[in-house]
């Protein structure tokens, strides 16, 4: 069972590696940012798998922090995009 969980976490890690291509290529800032956001979701899943595999409940707290705060960076990103559009339209 534990082997299955660690293998699953490894697969998730591999998807992060594959996703790096999208962060690197873009083409828009939103592509890069959304990709980094999806890494966060992947990381939460990997942490939960590791918490089960090694029976370490504190790892669920780490996953919960990532889950709760995922929206913060994205909100700041949207704020900048909104201000940018506003100033461009106003000019």
């Amino acid at each position: 069972m534990s082997t299955f969980l660690v293998v699953s976490a490894l697969v998730l890690l591999a998807t992060i590696g594959a996703g790096l291509v999208r962060v690197s290529r873009g083409p828009t800032a939103a592509d890069r940012m959304l990709c980094a956001q999806l890494f966060g979701t992947t990381g939460v899943a990997a942490l939960l798998l590791l918490a089960e595999a090694y029976d370490r409940p504190p790892l669920r707290d780490v996953a919960l922090i990532f889950a709760i705060l995922a929206a913060l960076v994205l909100t700041v990103f949207v704020k900048h995009a909104a201000i940018h559009r506003h100033s461009r339209d106003g000019a």
């Binding site: 534990s2 082997t3 660690v6 293998v7 976490a9 490894l10 890690l13 591999a14 992060i16 590696g17 790096l20 962060v23 690197s24 873009g26 800032a29 890069r32 940012m33 990709c35 980094a36 890494f39 966060g40 990381g43 990997a46 942490l47 590791l50 370490r56 409940p57 504190p58 790892l59 707290d61 780490v62 919960l64 922090i65 990532f66 709760i68 705060l69 995922a70 929206a71 913060l72 960076v73 909100t75 700041v76 990103f77 949207v78 704020k79 900048h80 909104a82 201000i83």
Partner: protein
């Protein structure tokens, strides 16, 4: 099974190096930041594999709650003033190169001093744990065995936030309005998240006495919640009277100073906690540190919106 763990650890290590190189050498600042956010995430996984859940918690809170936001803001400001700024002189570059190289050499020398496969002090802490007021090794080191280090760490944080606030008050570096126009999506999201953040940071603070967690992680998480509120236009920290803000920012340092002063007057050693009541003292200190850290985090991000020098009080 062991082979599988080695594969996982090597993958994490390789991914970390790739992410670090990408975020350093990508010409586009924004792409660098996206890579750096991913770096923080993988770093948290690395701390987990190194059996350091306390560090993983701190990495998660600081990485997801603070550095990403600060870097995005900084990149936007750099883009806004580009063309105005000057490239550093070659003397400055040379000096920073020399300083960095010196620190690097010192670190490598220190690393070579450490015996390979040293057991560290974990066993000693575990044996002495019954003597302390808490049941978690890391917290006992931070607030009991090495409380003096934590005292100075809170002082360093205070110094950092004072520096940032002074610079922002006098140079007007921030040009971006820090607030979004009212949006039902944002206020709905913040309405859902803010209570969760509050409860969870309280839980982390409480957990620190017997499990991974503690004042710094709880404080950063609470601060990130404060940033979310400010973004949604709910002004909690930025509308605090400046005197109250100053006191709350220094609450952690003040708590330590008060405690050590009282203990010295009572004829004990500096920060030598009394047996009875030590648990209450440790928890009170943790709360004070968490509050200071949270306000520091919000102040670093929302800086100049904190009206430190209100015009009506200036002559």
């Amino acid at each position: 099974m062991i082979g599988l763990e080695v594969v996982f650890d090597v993958s994490v290590a390789v991914l970390l190096v790739v992410l670090a190189l990408e975020s350093l050498y990508t010409p586009n600042l924004f792409t660098s930041i996206a890579f750096f956010i991913a770096f923080g995430l993988v770093m948290a996984l690395a701390w987990v594999r190194l059996q350091a859940p306390d560090l993983a918690l701190a990495e998660a809170a600081v990485g997801a709650g603070l550095t990403g936001v600060l870097l995005l803001d900084a990149a936007r400001e750099i883009a806004a003033v580009r063309g105005v700024e000057r490239t550093p002189r070659s003397m400055v570059r040379l000096t920073s190169l020399l300083v960095a190289a010196g620190v690097g050499v010192a670190l490598v020398a220190a690393l070579l001093e450490v015996p390979p496969r040293a057991a560290g002090l974990a066993e000693a802490v575990r044996e002495a744990l019954p003597l302390t007021a808490v049941e978690h090794g890391v917290t006992s080191v931070l607030l009991d065995f090495r409380a003096l280090d934590t005292f100075f760490e809170t002082a360093v944080l205070l110094l950092a936030v004072i520096t940032v606030l002074v610079l922002q008050a006098h140079q007007h570096v921030r040009i971006i309005p820090w607030e979004l126009s009212a949006s039902p999506v944002l206020s709905g999201l913040v309405g859902l998240l803010a209570p969760v953040v509050l409860v969870f940071s309280g839980y982390l603070l409480w957990a620190g006495t017997h499990a991974p967690g503690g004042a710094f992680q709880a404080g950063v998480l609470l601060g990130a919640g404060g940033i979310l509120l400010e973004l949604a236009g709910v002004h909690t920290v930025s509308r605090l009277p400046r005197r109250a803000l100053r006191w709350l920012l220094s609450l952690g340092v003040a708590g330590f100073a008060l405690l050590s002063g009282t203990l010295l007057l009572a004829g004990r050693g500096l920060l030598e906690l009394p047996g009875a009541g030590a648990r209450t003292i440790v928890i009170a200190l943790e709360i004070a540190i968490a509050v200071s850290v949270a306000l520091t985090v919000v102040s670093l991000v929302v800086g100049s919106n904190l009206r430190l020098e209100p015009p009506e009080q200036e002559p």
